[in-house]
Amino acid sequence: MRWSLAAFALLIPVVVHAAWDYVEARRLRQVVAEIRTRGEPITLGDIRSRPVKDEGLRSDRYYRAAAALASNRPQEQSLFGRVREAERKGEWPAGLADEVRHQTSEHEDALQLLDRAAPLSFEGFSPGTQTASPALFPLARLAGLRTISLALAGDGNRATASLYAELRLRPVVEWAWPIFRAQVDEVDRVGLVLSATHPPSTSLSRVGRALADLDRDDALKQWFLRRRAALLESGLGSGRSGSTLADLGQVGFFDRVGLRGAVLGQFLGRPWFEHELRTWVETLSTVMAALDQPWPQRAGAVATAYDALTPPPDAQFRRPDVSISKQIVDDLALVRAARVAVAIEQYRREHTEAMPSRLDDLVPVYLAAVPVDPYSGQPLLLRTEARSYAVYSLGPNRRDDSADFTLFRFVQGARESRDVGLRIQYR
């Protein structure tokens, strides 16, 4: 009698665990089924296209080969740090331009392959070829160095061609690193190229088209779709015990109790893990539903949606998502400002270097419509000055600070200026 009671007492937690396991697995399955019903992607495989046409297969090969040839070297990293600093200050120390030119000439083969790939339609990388992905970063840096070098040398034609290749590389990097947000240095570089050189209208037109491809009104929603798909993929796939636990910020807890990586630990912790995963997936779905609003409400929709959630989600979920969403909106504003700046330069080339009196003059020949400022919901602003002009968005403070692009503060590692845009010096 006593033994049977003891056995029953021992089995009660097992039954509770089993029931909890079932309930959580079923709830998670239901959440995933709802996503599928809405026609939204569940995994990154649903989002990532694969090359099927000849052109796509060729661009796949060129980008991989270029990335392999541009593989990282420590001295380049140090050089790139100094270049970035010079770009920020707008001051180029003596010798730095020569060093940049030397580095780019060292990697001429990689850059030639990049130039071949740039005009081709990128359809994605073939399965099993993602080992090239990390090398896309040094390739992008190298392309940036070349653009700078050519711009400083005043070679407008080749600088815009290099800029075009850089801009075309951005969706490739995004394909390989779907939830990683690198700063849009190449868009910032549009300002340098337009200020330091005098490219012809045909070259500008190509850059304008590449920028138009980057101008995606649904960029925020697309990023969150990728974020959720990556979370589900790593949570339900092979990365269950690793990356998603890290995402959920629970690695420390699992380490402390000695359960991380242990089979028993994974088994016991599974319902809790699936509960956390489902909660986060549901949170992301709620946040995404708020991203259908028009600008400028959409610009702050992520923070607002998080604040409206009850119970409020952990700060570890909210903070990075809000920060990234701000970065995406900043990037979009910058891309749009760059599009307008390129259109203005095209206008000037064809109107004896005269400035348009207003941005509407660019429509419809150089732009289909004046792009909307995501922070105001109104068209972007133009400010003409004695030696330069600026195209800009009101920025996160949603105030016109007369095109003040100086660094205002760092918000979680990201630069923040009062206004967001580009200033182009007259030549």
Binding site: M1, S4, L5, A7, F8, L11, I12, V14, V15, H17, A18, A19, D21, Y22, E24, A25, R26, L28, R29, V32, R36, I42, T43, G45, S49, R50, P51, V52, L57, N72, Q77, F80, G81, R84, G124, S126, P127, G128, T129, Q130, T131, S133, P134, F137, R141, W177, F180, A182, L232, E233, L236, G237, S238
Partner: protein, 123 residues
């Protein structure tokens, strides 16, 4: 006849003692709880087993969502097989090459990608 009956009655076995029935019934009563005591435990085990099986089934559905064949993979395998000369053997080789590359990607991803991203941020 009556005499005969009388004689026989003298040798008829007597009935069981009166307390025997009580003893037997009592023994039966004490044996039953010993058997039934394990039923709740068995039921608990069955319930746990059932829940784990149901959970595994739900999880299988989830995994199936994730492991749906990449619709482009076949296209790539066919293209590679054609590059290798076509035919059944080329198809096997192409499929194997893609598998090996995917495995290499997964291993490389676990080893080095985080480091590389960190490096790229550090600039």
């Amino acid at each position: 006849m009556d005499d005969l009956e009388h004689q026989l009655r003298r040798y008829r076995p007597v009935g069981p003692p009166a307390e025997l029935r009580a003893r037997v019934v009592a023994a039966g009563r004490t044996g039953a709880p010993r058997r039934w005591a394990w039923v709740p435990s068995a039921a608990a085990m069955a319930a746990a087993f059932l829940f784990y099986v149901l959970a595994a089934s739900a999880r299988r559905d989830l995994t199936a969502e994730l492991t749906k064949a990449d619709r482009y993979r076949d296209v790539i395998v066919r293209a590679l097989a054609a590059d290798l000369g076509g035919g059944e053997e080329a198809s096997h080789v192409a499929a194997r090459l893609i598998e090996l590359n995917e495995a290499a990607d997964a291993a490389a991803g676990e080893r080095g990608t985080a480091l590389n991203v960190e490096d790229s941020w550090r600039d």
